[in-house]
Symmetry: D2
Subunit: 318 residues, 4 copies
Amino acid sequence: MAAVTLTIGVDVGGTKVAGGVVDDTGKVLVQARRDTPADDVAKTRDVIIEVVTELAVGRSIAAVGIGAAGWIDVTRSTVLFAPNLAWRDEPLRDYVSNATGLPVIVENDGNVAAWAEFRYGAARHADDSMVMFTIGTGVGGGIVLGGELLRGANGIAAELGHMLTVPDGHQCGCGRLGCIEQYASGSALVRFARAAARQEPHRATALLELAGGEAEAVTGPMVTAAAQGGDPVSAEAFAQVGRWLGTSLADMAQILDPQVLVVGGGVVEAGDLLLGPTRRSFTDALAQRSRLPVAEVRPAELGNTAGVIGAADLARRL
Amino acid sequence: MAAVTLTIGVDVGGTKVAGGVVDDTGKVLVQARRDTPADDVAKTRDVIIEVVTELAVGRSIAAVGIGAAGWIDVTRSTVLFAPNLAWRDEPLRDYVSNATGLPVIVENDGNVAAWAEFRYGAARHADDSMVMFTIGTGVGGGIVLGGELLRGANGIAAELGHMLTVPDGHQCGCGRLGCIEQYASGSALVRFARAAARQEPHRATALLELAGGEAEAVTGPMVTAAAQGGDPVSAEAFAQVGRWLGTSLADMAQILDPQVLVVGGGVVEAGDLLLGPTRRSFTDALAQRSRLPVAEVRPAELGNTAGVIGAADLARRL
Amino acid sequence: MAAVTLTIGVDVGGTKVAGGVVDDTGKVLVQARRDTPADDVAKTRDVIIEVVTELAVGRSIAAVGIGAAGWIDVTRSTVLFAPNLAWRDEPLRDYVSNATGLPVIVENDGNVAAWAEFRYGAARHADDSMVMFTIGTGVGGGIVLGGELLRGANGIAAELGHMLTVPDGHQCGCGRLGCIEQYASGSALVRFARAAARQEPHRATALLELAGGEAEAVTGPMVTAAAQGGDPVSAEAFAQVGRWLGTSLADMAQILDPQVLVVGGGVVEAGDLLLGPTRRSFTDALAQRSRLPVAEVRPAELGNTAGVIGAADLARRL
Amino acid sequence: MAAVTLTIGVDVGGTKVAGGVVDDTGKVLVQARRDTPADDVAKTRDVIIEVVTELAVGRSIAAVGIGAAGWIDVTRSTVLFAPNLAWRDEPLRDYVSNATGLPVIVENDGNVAAWAEFRYGAARHADDSMVMFTIGTGVGGGIVLGGELLRGANGIAAELGHMLTVPDGHQCGCGRLGCIEQYASGSALVRFARAAARQEPHRATALLELAGGEAEAVTGPMVTAAAQGGDPVSAEAFAQVGRWLGTSLADMAQILDPQVLVVGGGVVEAGDLLLGPTRRSFTDALAQRSRLPVAEVRPAELGNTAGVIGAADLARRL
């Protein structure tokens, strides 16, 4: 029997490091997971190496892919800046490669997730292009064009979270006013829902009950659960997020005209609560070109294993 | 002596059809020009054929490229819709090819201009990627990635003029409120200048003198001339356009991270009057990533021959 | 039998001069009407005098009130500027008074209509305060506080049409971007409906049928008729206007806290098509103070005779 | 010698209760001050009574005026809601009156400050009307019309802080997006300055030095001090606040056309750093009516004793 080439994908998040051994069909054969020591550069590297080592023992591993939130240099070896970790100009590729003896590639987490969906998920039927928004606490992105991840001249393409959406709008953590991240993220969902629960508590009884009566205790999963149970205030919070997301997807259709548009991240688990308003806003924004074909808006399919799968698959292509 | 391969480029605008014979260094050897019979589909085709025939007589022409404002189908043969001409689903490629016996390619005018600048103009030193905004009466765009024009899955990529810039903003001809075309175009420049001349005539004496005292008679060239002569109201109109243009360029840098950003079209002839405010707004918008490299914003270099050069060069690549 | 004191009210519009003899219950006993020679200052004055003379013949008239669109000086004698008429610093009061031998008062048309509704119309049960928006082609306003019209230190209070609503929004005829007049007027209604009919003709069949198939031929009465017949695109145009109007009414409630808020002008004849969305937007905007009492939003009741009635009633108070 | 009538004014803030004995020229003869036990309704009342009692001992006091942040009922006796204190439907007037044996009046703090400036401060030369914005942590307001405070039909007029300024803008504590309080307050000033210091630390060295190098440690007084010392980032933060404040002042001029517009609150101590940009924005917004007279924008003159003086003066008028 012919040997299957295996690679390891590692998804380095702000709270956990998840790794997996992935075969050439995108299947995760085995996983490993550790907490992220986010404030400690050296320990974060060590945890990554631990995860890789554990997974590689006794297996024939061809390469390792690492996905991390942050700006990665154009050679995919150095983390220039990571907002949630302590890394600054961190030569992560060489460090892990030296420690494990394996070829390593480092990639932005939004890119990694997009690649996984392009190869094995919501856009697997596409052969050329897709754009993906990842709606988590913030907003990430990934772009595939010509069958390849778009990395950009300086390695920082597809930074979709900080496109300007509302001039002079809500202040973003990045310093500007009105980035899409302040309107179409999980944080925005919670912010919208909390505000509505404070303003109209009598309409938000289901949501407030989940939150122990305190609007400030509302979390994203509570908004999803309440909306699924019919809470109108929670459904409206999803509609607000979807309205802005649909507008940005329409901009991407006009700029890049990809085969598929994908929406991923934890917030998309709410399904049509998010995608219904998103698609309406998307269609409205493109009404003037309604006679032309345009990409479909699809939910991501791989959930939170997209990071592991995508990183492993990129490593396979080294 | 080895023969030089020549191609013909045709730029079909709302008021004129311009053609040229172009060599393999992007040099225009000879030109021809006719008025556009914009309301008459059949006559517009005939004028194109006349121009091509006149240019081809006695020369060895390899192919013809036609650039036109409008949506072109993905096979680059049919004009699906042209806002300023009467074409609807017009099979322009086959018609011109049959009449002239030459291979023909049809391409969007923004794409054609971008290609010309990428090959022979402001981005000729780039080998991979550029994004160009063409600021004429409206706003057009072109994107080069991986050394090729981005056409999109449906042939309508790089429609940059209708990105949303101000939610609920100035109504666009397309029906939406707040497209970039309403803020960073020559039309917007004139609109801003006229409004200021009505509001503050004492500050706009130079501009109003050019316009015979009537704010409504102000044109784009008058705004440029007055601004160059020191008229503050005209300079402020350029600054308004530049502010929005810079913001959109920053979005493109974040989405595509190209090697070069180019600003073309008639309005860019105003030089630093436009580019100064544009670059300030661009830099402000990207302040949070000031430690990372980013594309330079450059003015187009080929002026209004870019359409002919780009179309001819695309034809050469058939 | 005790003599009833009669006064004459004159409503000077851009297309007609309407006059009426009004008794002390606000009842119009007899009317007269002429076309407005809008471009001719002297003729407009003469037409006003003709109307007054015709109405005064054989009657005991105590005074004359004239309502006109424009800025009136604080002594209510001079029209400083009238956007739709040729008047500039026109001493209208003295001119008409000298010609007719009657005391005359000149007042802004928005103020006059508000006064009529306060005394005899939608706010007649109020004894102290009301704010009225007049939604015609443009947006006018009138404010009553302490049982008196608010005229302001310079005679130009209640110029509600040019409050800023959308920063950098749709350009207003006044030169600024984003005045309420560009979002909550009859002109805006038509603009919204035309754009939607162009974008989504298949949804606007009823409206387009009224307009002979041409989106550009759509008028305000067509939008009203189509919306009343169930045309969704027309109903959405009213909803857009109502959304912005409700927001501005909420601002007025927060600034002035009047007893009543009134919406008048031709557009309000559409009834709940306008007032439904207006009230929803108003309530949403004030959700955070839902436990406090707030003024009711009511439609005007006097229609287009409000100008005559209000002007006559103000003349009575001389 | 004729006896001077004295009254007591009390200014109840979130951190302190300040009282003063005031004569009929607006002069504060003696003061008293306590910390505010903000979370404890009963103790806050007791502290007010302590302050009044201390000031009243041995003096002939005619009445007591109390200014407090919150919504006061139309009879000026009950605090319906106080955002920074624990009061809900608190019958403060009767409680203090019963305890001290003096007539008491309760009034909103923005109204009280406006009244003080109208009588003895920046608008003392006006005899009829003024509008005042108080720019502290939040934005308060007060309106004088016809020589009297405007209280509104329900006691809640002049709630200027929650006028809509940027649709879908920065989220306000009240739940809405885009209230003026999020753009023209001391909190906004600090938010703008912190963001700029994070984005462009090299331009904000003076400000960051005051803040110990930490953008998040920047306070309002630091922004003022740095701006006065020439720090460009701090000056720009004031300019942002002034831009929005000027726009809102222009709206008030169009709505109410008062004799004077006053800007008070702690932020105005920065003087022309705030007032320069404010007046430019105000003038720009009213450019189309530049030939008409309009109220002057003046800084408040009474500083933080305005609350005591205004409350005492209102009590004198009981």
